[in-house]
């Protein structure tokens, strides 16, 4: 029988340290739903999603009960909708978002990702139609998440898309101004987007994926932070070892749940995403882990090094715990969703410039950051271009999820609600980037794209 100490350790992690499974995400291919008639296409989309994901939520809840571990979110990701809607006879892609939203509601999931387009090298007409409908789509739907891939290491950066996305983010914020620009919390701009990411808002079901798969995202910043309290003052390699061991345990939970869900739903198991995903709850913060390593406040000098260690150790620990690792797999640093990050931003220690440096070594990018509502679209585009450049050159995924909150100034707070948390409005540089952004065109693929 399992040792008593081990049983209580697991229960302690769940009860006191916020150990949970962050998400079970069912990826569903909608490639067979394309139709010239948009009404037929949207009906097919609704029917297929509700058929595939009918049992997702009840099965998730059943597993939660039996294992005694919370599964916080049950979600759906679908084929980038621009591919499905390309054949459509309508200029307006909003009906496709509405169909996704209805299906999500019917299935009882709390987000559906994949109102997406991949335009790293150029736009199709369908891509352009989808991107232009994003502000309306995100304002009219409750559960739909959108992501646009504007760059990759292989293709370079589509600067026309970068410019356009700055404008789209502004328009989305204005269209959802009554909710402080909440629409922008459901919109991610990527470089090197991954096809099997289970986390929102950037999840979509890539074109290389199977018909239907189950991907699982784990969590566990609280567990890592707690484990580090036991090695206070010890050399930094002990910290790395401790994070590794903890990440192993956390990921094993994810692997178990993924296998179980896959068996019960009779859907192939895709991947476990090893990410450390924080929540706004006390004791579930990535920033506090960095501080536990010996930094007075997240964002001060040393933060990037501490984050690099954390990100790497999480992967090393997790990779042995799961047979299939994928997604984004690393440490997330969403400002509004992390109690320690919020505190550091409010104290002025954590700035956008420091966050940008941190994104060179973390798993994603500038995430859930509120900026003043009067930030020009070109400045948002320039922020996206910087992030995309980091991703392109370093062969990694980077992303921007930024909220130019209408009417808000530096120091104000933007309440997103629930897991999206509270975003302190952060300062951006006021010097213009407009002439750079208005050039348009493409930043060529870097030398390290030529690997063959």
């Amino acid at each position: 029988m399992i040792d008593r100490k081990e049983i209580f350790e697991t229960q302690h992690m769940i009860d006191r340290e916020h150990l949970d499974i962050r998400t079970i995400t069912m990826g569903i291919s909608l490639r067979d739903c394309a139709d010239g008639d948009y009404k037929r296409a949207t009906q097919k989309i609704y029917d297929k999603i509700t058929r595939c994901a009918e049992r997702l939520v009840p099965v998730g809840e059943e597993i939660e009960r039996e294992m005694g571990i919370p599964i916080v979110n049950k979600r759906i990701s679908v084929t980038p909708m621009a591919l499905v809607a390309d054949a459509s006879d309508t200029e307006d892609t909003v009906p496709y978002a509405l169909a996704m939203d209805r299906a999500a509601k019917e299935c009882g999931v709390n987000f559906i990702g994949g109102f997406s387009a991949l335009v790293q090298k150029g736009f199709t007409r369908g891509d352009m139609r989808l991107i232009r409908s994003i502000p309306e789509a995100l304002a009219l739907t409750q559960f739909v998440c959108s992501s646009i891939n504007v760059a990759s290491t292989r293709a370079g950066i589509n600067m026309d898309a970068v410019r356009l996305m700055g404008e789209i983010i502004k328009a989305t914020a204005e269209r959802t101004a009554d909710q402080d620009g909440l629409g922008c919390a459901k919109l991610v701009v990527f470089c090197n987007a991954v096809e099997d990411n289970p986390f929102m808002a950037g999840a979509f079901h890539g074109v290389g994926e199977a018909e239907c798969v189950i991907n699982v995202g784990v969590s566990g910043p609280g567990v890592v932070c707690h484990a580090l309290k036991d090695v206070k003052g010890q050399p930094i390699d002990v910290v790395a070892e401790t994070v590794k061991k903890t990440a192993f345990k956390v990921t094993r939970m994810g692997q178990l749940i993924a296998r179980e869900a896959s068996t019960r739903l009779n859907v192939p198991f895709g991947i476990v995403d090893l990410s450390l995903a924080p929540t706004p709850a006390q004791g579930d913060s990535v920033a506090r882990i960095l501080e536990e390593m010996g930094l007075e406040r997240c964002g001060t000098h040393g933060t990037t090094a501490a984050l690099a260690l954390l990100n790497d150790a999480v992967k090393k620990g997790g990779v042995m715990a799961s047979s299939q690792v994928g997604g984004l797999s690393g440490a997330f640093i969403p400002v509004s969703e992390d109690e320690g990050m919020i505190a550091a931003a409010q104290a002025g220690t954590l700035t956008i410039d420091k966050l940008e440096a941190m994104t060179c070594v973390c798993s994603v990018g500038l995430d859930m950051i509120a900026v003043p509502g009067d930030t020009p679209a070109e400045t948002l585009s320039a922020i996206i271009a910087d992030e995309a450049a980091i991703g392109m050159i370093n062969n990694k995924t980077t992303a921007v999820r930024i909220i130019p909150a209408p009417g808000k100034q530096v120091g104000d707070l933007v309440e997103m609600g629930g897991l999206l948390g509270t975003a302190p409005v952060m300062a951006v540089h006021t010097e213009s980037s407009a002439d750079f952004i208005h050039r348009g065109g493409r930043i060529p693929a870097p030398l390290n794209a030529l690997r063959n």
Binding site: M1, I2, E6, F8, T10, E66, M67, G68, K249, M253
Partner: protein
């Protein structure tokens, strides 16, 4: 259970103030729904009763959710916190 996976063992943990009849009460409750007790380990630390039971739920007469409810009710009656979880979660975390 929907029968999709073959699972049998679960761990019952019991924590609370020590008193007469804890083990008896829980075992009777489990017997009533045909859950077989395979192993019990129990200690008292500073008046605090902690018990870990390995049980076989293969032949249980009710689904897992109901077993959990039966134990919750018994826990309420005894003034103890009782929890049942499948053994798999502990094996996954602590055994390679």
């Amino acid at each position: 259970m929907n029968g999709a996976s073959i699972i049998m063992h679960a761990i019952v943990t019991v924590i609370g103030q020590d008193r007469v009849g804890i083990i008896a009460g829980i075992c009777v409750a489990l017997a009533g729904i045909n859950v077989n007790v395979l192993d019990i380990s129990q200690t008292i630390l500073g008046g605090m009763f902690t018990m870990v039971m390995l049980v076989d739920i293969k032949e249980a007469s009710v689904p897992f959710g109901e077993i959990s409810k039966v134990l919750d009710a018994e826990g309420e009656r005894l003034g103890m916190t009782i929890r049942i979880q499948r053994e798999d979660i502990f094996n996954a975390m602590h055994r390679i």
